[in-house]
């Protein structure tokens, strides 16, 4: 389809077929680069207001305790303290409900404890004072009397009879009779008859796997600056992946009218899912309302670890049957995830993603959402999927090893394709798993020789991707430049891809477009930047908004020429007659039309508001070489290649960046990162020294291959790219370790002590 055939059709998301792009697919500098390399960009903690107070939060040192008495009077009396808030200062109208239906209640209970402290780090009170030091001093004056209760932090322990009950009545009706009250949601899906399938197999492997909770590990702690008047009107500045969601939650928790709270998203210092929810913003606003002054609240790193969402930890049983020729005959998985002291561990995604890469006649998956005395889990990049991939892809690798089969050939043999019935039910439209496997097989990495002590691992991964509510406005200036207002915070360079798509449609230079992340008072509702949805959904909305503007530009040209708008095309940024019959007119450039737009019908803007529902699922295949030091047990990743289907890469450099970043986070999850709880239920490693994320000297260069199998649900074929890249690394590295050292690690992280234990067992067995 040629660029001059743009005919906007409202609500139509269909892929428009291959085309020559002029700007999409190029690699220009990001528009916000200058601000970010000079220190000018303003993140959550970088905003100041006249008369601003500083806030601090008092947190429970106990994993599970009844709050018997809470006395804030001494803190209130301290010179410089302007307000103290507790749970009593929040809405009484937020209603408890079982499962995830009562999400606002869950958020409220999480950001400020009610009758019980539910985990080490749970907030119990907050102070606003004239300086940060006074606020901190005031916390020490708050008296809390706790009745310590028995606690549980392990998922399997929490399901056992006799385990301490976190909260009665939290389970929804999906949970089968007779389960412990800590089991709050249940999932079961699949098709076929797995026992019949296992009977057809030549080899069946059944194994147990665990993964620990890991934190998203964004370098920027949560921070906000809020002002709320007694008139119920407020302003909030915060680092978030979704400021409309923050607006909605704060309004509910503080009994405000949503529109009266204007929320502005700061630059965001990483999120990875961890900033899709709310922790401190309602607290800052409640303090501000009480004190009558702006309040700034910034979390410490220890608070981030103790009280914001890590991902869920998992305990999993996998059983897979295979024929000698590599055909998988049946697959079954049980996934138990704990998501802290609230319902919501993403076990349904773990279950649905587990076998999504494969074409299976017989498959069954079961999931349990379990509560423990840990912080409320938050989404983390493809929530639930990486742990499933770890368990499933490890078993497939083991089957390949024992049957003497090539891991890529086996995956190709069983790979899901267009028309395959997915393990989670529906039939796949066009998907790109096979293409990623073929590209991996053809990559020089796959054939490169290994050094002694090294092993190579392969894994595939899957994530759904997402659309969601989206609004974009595009306004043209008299000089022919354009401003694009989007509502999805730019977590990783999305302004650049929005500008590229707008430039493509308008036919003007990339540099003439400014993309702004609008505040909640300047644009219609936008769902959170999550689910790899930004380039897909905001991108689609940007294309549609630009086409809306183009339609109006064509109309102005039609008016000027005295012909019908249908006889005007838009080519390379100019209105042109659509053919010889339309008349003989010189091309009319965009800037010529906008120069006189005030006098020819008024300002020209384009808008789009919708809920795009054409998000395309995505697949990746990773190849990793690892080296295991048999003396120390340390594993080193020596070579890494990511192959992933992007649908269409709008700005390939930032697509590569997403691939590399996801792989690096996966490497950390596989080798180093874990939440460590003591017997007392306290988090023992709430800092970057003891919770070790990968540093520059831990990693090799990370090669990338962008596969482009167009998403049928986007005009340019875009799929999301942000999340899938974290799914394969856990298993890919475990498989590499297995091939390097002959030991199969079934528990993450594969820290040196665990590897040494396995090596010792290996020696004992020999």
């Amino acid at each position: 389809m040629a660029l001059d055939e743009y005919r906007p059709q409202e609500g139509d998301e269909a892929y428009e077929g291959p085309r020559e792009f002029r700007q999409v697919g190029t690699r220009p500098d990001r528009p916000d680069g200058f601000d970010k390399v000079t220190g000018r960009a303003r993140f959550g903690a970088d905003m100041y207001a006249p008369g601003m107070l500083h806030a601090a939060i008092l947190r429970s040192p106990h994993a599970h305790a009844r709050i018997v008495r809470l006395d804030t009077s001494k803190a209130e009396a301290l010179e410089g303290v302007k307000a103290v808030v507790t749970r009593a200062d929040f809405s009484k109208n937020v209603i408890f409900a079982p499962g995830t239906v009562g999400e606002f209640w869950n958020i409220l209970e999480n950001i400020m404890a009610g009758e019980k402290a539910l985990y080490d780090g749970h907030a119990v009170a907050a102070v606003a004072a004239t300086t940060p030091l006074i606020a901190r001093d005031a916390l020490k004056l708050i008296e809390v009397e706790y009745e310590i209760l028995p606690h549980v932090t392990d998922v399997d322990e929490a399901m056992k009879p006799g385990a301490p009950v976190i909260r009665e009545g939290a389970a929804d009706r999906s949970v089968p009779e007779g389960m412990h009250p800590n089991v709050v949601r249940y999932h079961e899906s699949g098709h076929g008859d797995v026992e019949a399938g296992f009977a057809e197999a030549d080899l069946v492997i059944e194994d147990h796997f665990t993964t620990e909770a890991t934190h998203q590990g964004y370098i920027e702690p949560h921070a906000c600056l809020g002002t709320l008047g007694a008139d119920g009107k407020g302003e909030l500045w915060c680092c978030t992946q979704g400021h409309w969601y923050v607006q909605k939650v704060c309004a509910a928790l503080l009994d405000l009218e949503t529109a009266n709270l204007r929320v502005t998203a700061s630059e965001i210092g990483g999120g990875f899912g961890g900033k899709t929810t709310v922790f401190i913003e309602p607290v800052a606003l409640a303090l501000s309302r009480k004190a009558g002054r702006p309040v700034k609240l910034v979390m410490s790193r220890a608070e981030v670890f103790r009280a914001t969402g890590p991902t869920a930890s998992a305990s999993m049983d996998i059983r897979i049957g295979m024929k000698k020729d590599g055909t998988i005959t049946a697959a079954q998985g049980t996934f138990r995830l704990q998501g802290g002291a609230f319902p919501g561990a993403p076990m349904e995604f773990t279950a649905m993603c587990a076998f999504a890469c494969y074409d299976l006649r017989h498959v069954r998956q079961v999931g349990y959402d379990v509560m423990t005395n840990r912080p409320k889990q938050a989404a983390y990049r493809a929530p639930g999927s990486p742990m499933a991939a770890f368990a499933v892809e490890s078993v497939i690798d083991e089957l390949c090893n024992r049957l003497g089969l090539d891991p890529i050939e086996v995956r190709l043999k069983n790979a899901a394709r267009e028309g395959t019935k997915a393990s989670y039910g529906p039939t796949y439209p066009r998907i790109g798993l096979v293409e990623t496997l073929e590209a991996a097989r053809a990559h020089p990495h796959y054939a490169a020789p290994l050094k002694p002590g090294q092993g190579r691992g392969i894994s595939c991964g899957f994530w759904f991707n997402y659309g969601g509510e989206t609004s974009v406005s595009l306004a043209l200036s008299e000089d022919g430049s354009a401003q694009v207002m989007v509502g999805t915070p730019d977590i990783g360079g999305s302004r650049a891809s929005m500008a590229l798509m707008a430039a493509e449609v308008l036919g003007i230079p990339y540099e003439n477009i400014r993309v702004t992340v609008a505040d909640t008072g300047s644009l219609g509702y936008n769902e959170i930047s999550h689910g790899s949805r930004v380039t897909y959904a905001s991108g689609l909305a940007t294309i549609k908004a630009a086409r809306d503007a183009v339609r109006k530009l064509r109309q102005r040209a039609a008016d000027k020429w005295g012909i019908d708008v249908e006889a005007v095309d838009w080519v390379d940024g100019c209105a042109v007659p659509s053919g010889p019959n339309a008349g003989d007119f010189d091309p009319l450039p965009l800037a010529e039309i906008t120069k006189t737009m005030g006098a020819t019908g008024g300002p020209i803007s384009g808008h789009f508001e919708a809920t795009p529902e054409g998000a395309g699922v995505s697949f990746a295949t990773h190849i990793v070489d690892a080296e295991v030091d048999r003396e120390t047990g340390k594993t080193r990743v020596v070579r890494y290649t990511v192959v992933q289907d992007a649908g269409k890469a709008i700005h390939p450099t930032y697509v590569e960046g997403q691939f590399q970043g996801g792989a690096a986070q996966g490497i950390g999850w596989a080798l180093n990162e874990e939440y460590i709880y003591g017997e007392d239920g306290r988090l023992q490693n709430p800092g970057f020294l003891d919770y070790r994320i990968p540093v520059a000297s831990d990693l090799p260069m990370i090669d990338t291959v962008i596969v482009e199998v167009p998403n049928p649900g986007h005009p340019f074929g875009v799929r999301g790219v942000g999340e899938t890249s974290i799914c394969p690394p856990l298993a890919a590295i475990a498989n590499a370790v297995s091939n390097a050292a002959g030991v199969r690690l079934r528990d993450l992280p594969m820290r040196p002590s665990r590897i040494l234990d396995e090596l010792e067992k290996q020696r004992d067995d020999a």
Partner: protein, 159 residues
């Protein structure tokens, strides 16, 4: 608590400030002097987002007290560009997309500039170990390392 008067030179300019003896240099830079380029990612010297130079030596400003700046020379990310001209490292970071969220970027630029002043021709391994104290969660470091090596090459050619 009584505040202490401190005089220091920051990015070449003489500055005076009053600070509480408990305040870190990072707090002083951000909250008293309006230099918000240095970031607090951890407050314990583990992440490097607050990196500055103190008399030419790379330090975490969260581990230094404001009062310790008395009579010293401090460099922050705000002092890297010369007027409207970006430093080669800054240009290469943009060109290579060596930043995604950009939060760790100021600290990494300060650290990388300090490296290149000591070693104009570092190997990949030397860059990786020098920057091992600067955490980045977005990029996997690949593009950061490439940007630093490329900037070093350009600076060597220019000198």
């Amino acid at each position: 608590m009584t505040k202490i008067h401190v005089t220091a030179r920051i990015n070449g300019d003489e500055v005076e400030f009053l600070c509480d003896p408990r305040e870190t240099m990072l707090d002083v830079l951000r909250d008293r002097l309006g230099l918000i380029g240095a970031k607090e990612g951890c407050g314990t010297g583990d992440c490097g987002a607050c990196s500055i130079t103190l008399d030419g030596r790379l330090v975490c400003s969260c581990l230094m007290l404001g009062v310790e700046a008395e009579g010293r020379e401090i460099g922050t990310v705000e002092g890297i560009a010369e007027g409207e001209n970006l430093h080669p490292l800054q240009r290469k970071f943009i060109e290579h997309a060596a930043l995604q969220c950009g939060f760790c970027t100021p600290g990494i630029l300060v650290a990388a500039k300090n490296l290149l002043e000591r070693n104009p021709d570092p190997s990949e391994e030397e860059v990786r170990y020098w920057l091992a104290g600067n955490l980045c969660r977005c990029t996997g470091y690949d593009k950061i390392i490439r940007a630093v090596l490329d900037a070093a090459a350009e600076m060597r050619e220019a000198s």
